[in-house]
């Protein structure tokens, strides 16, 4: 019942050690991870290039999604809903704690629609809230 194996299979990807490992890291972490986070937390050493390529593959397949940040890194997090290739449903709010620096996907808080000026056609929207998370807020 290897969960990571199933996810890979479901998305029509070859099942390899590296992919399973990276997927495990996501499944265990809960929060969002950067390339560097994954490189650090990999028990077995994975080549940097493999990590880049695997993350890209996962994004393309809809297994993970990207979270915009203002510090020239990209964060990645598991998609909860069944995202299909090239068609993400990550319409939830992301929360960055200014204390512990963790990024959390708030799957239950969906991004509200906004009224755009005439002529602008929205396709998708991302929202990132900064503040204090429940653990640090005391």
């Amino acid at each position: 019942m290897d969960q990571s194996k199933n996810i890979l299979k479901r998305n029509g990807l070859s099942i390899t050690e590296g992919r399973k490992l990276i997927l495990e890291i996501f499944l265990q972490s809960m929060g969002a991870l950067s390339h560097a986070d994954i490189e650090k937390s990999a028990s077995v050493s994975l080549d940097r290039v493999t990590i880049y390529r695997t993350l890209q593959t996962f994004v393309d397949s809809g297994i993970i999604h990207q979270i915009p940040t203002t510090d020239n890194t990209i964060l990645y997090a598991l998609c909860k809903d069944s995202c299909e290739a090239g068609h993400h449903h990550d319409n939830h709010v992301h929360f960055i704690c200014m204390e512990c620096e963790k990024t959390i996907c708030m799957d239950e808080v969906i991004v509200p629609k906004v009224q755009l000026p005439k002529g602008f056609e929205p396709v998708n929207a991302a929202m990132v809230v900064k503040g204090m998370c429940s653990d640090c807020h005391n």
Copy 2:
């Protein structure tokens, strides 16, 4: 009536050629710019390092603000309201056109408040909408 000069003066910064030039580029562009964009569009050649430092200075002073992206670059755009040092008021929505790739500040569309789970304390929120801009939408 050098507008760039005034902005610098108002923020207590030394008035130098490089700063005026970069500020002009922002004033003329309307949209959001990356470090690379500025490097390209500078008529006079500016040192890469100077651009990095100037952008940081402008962010610190509240002249420009950062826009989160999912492609490991940072975009910068002029703050419309009077932002003070260390205290930005860039609570407006950003729009990225998937056709022309431009990023536009929608100063009139403010980021809506969302209801966060218990214990989470928001400080500020950013919102990025992707889609078709009015120029490309035809």
